[in-house]
């Protein structure tokens, strides 16, 4: 078994922070040390990739796809409904710390556009009411 790359270690670290989904500073410095790179280098890697965050986020990350097929299928309305229901904008977290809203690159589900992904679960054929329903169900289960 080959030793893990820096990116894999960052993935592991972020996964461990279940409530904040981010890379805490001190732990990141430890990983840098262990990987024989400077902290600034590790920071440079972490901030290069959109899925890593050096700032605390919500427990669930909502990633909305707004690419061409989704755009044509009305993702704007879905986004508006989401923003209104959650009371946040992109890259913000709800006050209860449950949800963070982010943009996603194309999720490759263009035939069932508009779509989004919450944590690792994709949803398609969305409408404004459907998306609110999904959030409410998640809240009820949280």
């Amino acid at each position: 078994m080959q030793k893990k790359s820096l990116i894999e270690k960052l993935h592991d670290l972020q996964k461990d922070q279940k409530n904040t989904n981010h890379l805490p500073k001190n732990e990141m410095a430890d990983i840098a040390k262990e990987s024989n790179v400077s902290t600034s280098k590790a920071y440079g890697v972490a901030t290069f990739y959109t899925m890593f965050s050096v700032k605390p986020r919500g427990r669930h990350i909502i990633r909305v796809c707004e690419n061409q097929a989704c755009h044509m299928a009305g993702s704007e309305n879905v986004v508006e409904a989401l923003k209104k229901h959650l009371g946040i904008n992109f890259n913000e977290t709800t006050s209860d710390g449950l949800f963070t809203l982010e943009h996603s690159s194309c999720l490759g589900m263009c035939s069932i556009a508009p779509c989004l992904m919450i944590d690792e679960h994709p949803y398609g054929n969305l409408t404004p009411s459907k998306v609110v329903d999904i959030i409410q169900k998640m809240k009820a289960g949280a």
Binding site: S5, F48, M51, M72, C110, I112
Partner: protein, 537 residues
């Protein structure tokens, strides 16, 4: 072996699952159990069947009944009426315009395809290595290891004329030959599964639907070039693909199809999965290799090419998912048979994801050289709601628009280049009269500006400048001089950028300007958006 009366194949591709397929499957299994039919009916989860828009989808064998757009509430009725009484349910079946209910092989969308890459997708259970083997899986690897020399393997791929399916169309055999001829103790085989082009999901469907074909293709490449280690770099946006791929690697290792002395030969090959973290530029091969090494995914200047100096500085063959999926067929059936499909310089098939304003959207595999008209009208069924076809965007943010007047252009690398579009990775977004070409161009440029890694100036600054101009035009503040400026900037960025991302970034703008200049002029001169999309203040 257990014999079943009925096989119910449920599509477990990412899109069918996301459309509610998982809850339907649960309901169906429950209904089967309630009626005590578990020994008569086998439910099989397959990979993507292709017509994703009609998901969740299910095919019932032996007769081939096609059920579409299923919801959990349909499960009881299907079990009671169809499985028990033999009465298929009309309202849930695929219905053609003439009122007929075709079986899978009668639907034009499926019947007009040629499947090599997707030969197992939608047919086998992706999590079962046994089912892959039952469809002659790993026999190409066995053939290579027992009856061919590494040189013969490379030669076979070379003779097949296979060209890289990631977009550039570089001859695969030649790439392998370079890597094979570069002397080194350590070489690598890498799969580029960082499919990022908006509108493209061919690779995701292959990863999810037939993961072993990629493992087999990679192992054959390893044998051909003398590499004993491989990596699959998959984007994190595809969690189902990651999970199935991990499972497939585990099973192949357990069966001795990966690891030391495969099938009793001297050849050893080990495979690892690496997961991306959200960076479009990592689809560029040198950036991807940097990312596997754990660095920022920034591209390097080429040459040296990866075949000479790639992963960890060693000779590396890096191919796209779809390219590797062609390899088992070529090695098993021989280059002659492969070359019979497609055209002389563009052999084989290509998988496209058909999306946008077309009646049946989804995943299709067609012989190269086919025309766009055939794809959109015969396979896709044409444009919905009686609207007029305007253009099809191929190759995502690196590609260009093909207008209605060019619908009979054969789909091959050269012909598409000539008309300012490109094969790209295979995304095809169809647009009707309601789409504004300036808006489309602006949209893709916004994408590139976002995804530019910032390493070289033409891409980082130039695309930003182009975007500013487009924003002006689409808000009614454009001047005539803007058009010349756009063209000049575009051409400069294309020739001076460091990697493919920047070099191809101006394509959507230049190609829409080439075919739809009237729309640009209408925005500038009469401050009018013909399609009524742009907000002209």
């Amino acid at each position: 072996m257990k014999i079943y009366r009925i096989h119910a194949l449920i599509c477990a591709g990412g899109q069918c699952i996301s459309a509610g397929g998982d809850s339907f499957e649960e309901a169906l299994k429950r209904a089967i159990k309630e009626k005590g039919l578990e020994d008569e009916i086998q439910v099989v989860e397959t990979g993507c069947m292709g017509s994703c828009e009609k998901g969740p989808m299910m095919v019932i064998y032996p007769e081939g009944t096609l059920y579409i757009n299923l919801v959990p509430e349909d499960a009881n009725e299907i079990v009671e009426e169809h499985f028990l009484k033999g009465r298929p349910i009309d309202r849930l079946m695929w219905k053609e315009a003439d009122g007929n209910f075709p079986t899978l092989d009668q639907v034009p969308f499926f019947a007009l395809q040629t499947k090599i890459v997707l030969r197992n997708c939608g047919i086998i259970d992706a999590d079962s290595i046994e089912e892959y083997i039952a469809r002659e899986g790993y026999s190409a690897l066995a053939k290579a290891l027992t009856s061919m020399s590494p040189d013969q393997v490379v030669d076979e791929v070379k003779k097949s004329g296979l060209r890289g399916r990631g977009g550039a169309g570089f001859p695969t055999g030649l790439k392998w030959e370079y890597a094979a001829q570069t002397p080194s103790e350590q070489k690598y085989v890498v799969t580029n599964a960082d499919e990022g082009d908006p509108g493209a999901y061919m690779d995701r469907s292959i990863l999810e639907g037939d993961p072993h074909t990629i493992i087999e293709g990679m192992a054959i490449a390893g044998y051909g070039i003398g590499a004993d280690k491989g990596y699959i770099y998959c984007r994190a946006e595809y969690p189902i693909a990651v999970q199935r791929m991990q499972n497939a690697i585990k099973k192949a290792k357990k069966m001795g199809l990966l690891g030391k002395n495969i099938l009793g030969s001297d050849f050893s090959f080990d495979l690892e999965l690496r997961i991306g973290a959200g960076a479009f530029v990592c689809g560029e091969e040198t950036a991807l290799l940097n990312s596997i090494e754990g660095k920022r995914g920034e591209p390097n200047l080429k040459p040296p090419f990866p075949s000479e100096k790639g992963l960890f500085g060693q000779p590396t063959v890096i191919n796209n998912v779809e390219t590797f999926a062609n390899i088992p067929f070529i090695v098993c059936e021989g280059h002659e048979k492969f070359k019979r499909i497609g055209t002389e310089t563009n052999t084989g098939t290509k998988v496209f994801s058909l999306a946008g304003k077309v009646i049946t959207t989804g995943l299709i595999e067609v012989p190269l050289g086919i025309t766009l008209r055939k794809i959109i009208y015969d396979i896709g069924g044409g444009i919905p709601n009686g609207k007029k076809f305007k253009g099809v965007l191929m190759g995502g943010p690196s590609g260009g628009v093909v207008p209605a007047s060019m619908l009979d252009t054969p789909i091959d690398f050269e012909s598409l280049d000539e008309i300012g579009s490109m094969m790209g990775s295979g995304g095809m977004i169809v647009m009707d009269e309601d789409s504004c070409m300036v808006d489309i161009a602006k949209y893709f440029l916004e994408f590139t500006v976002d995804e530019s890694c910032g390493k070289c100036t033409p891409c980082r600054e130039g695309t930003q400048q182009m975007l500013e101009i487009l924003k002006r035009i689409s808000s009614g503040k454009g001047a005539e001089a803007d058009l010349a400026e756009l063209e000049k900037l575009g051409e400069t960025i294309a020739v001076t950028s460091l990697c493919g991302l920047g070099q191809s970034a101006p394509n959507p703008v230049l190609s829409t300007m080439r075919w739809f200049m009237d729309e640009y002029e209408a925005h500038i001169k009469s401050k009018k958006c013909i399609a009524n999309v742009c907000d002209m203040k």
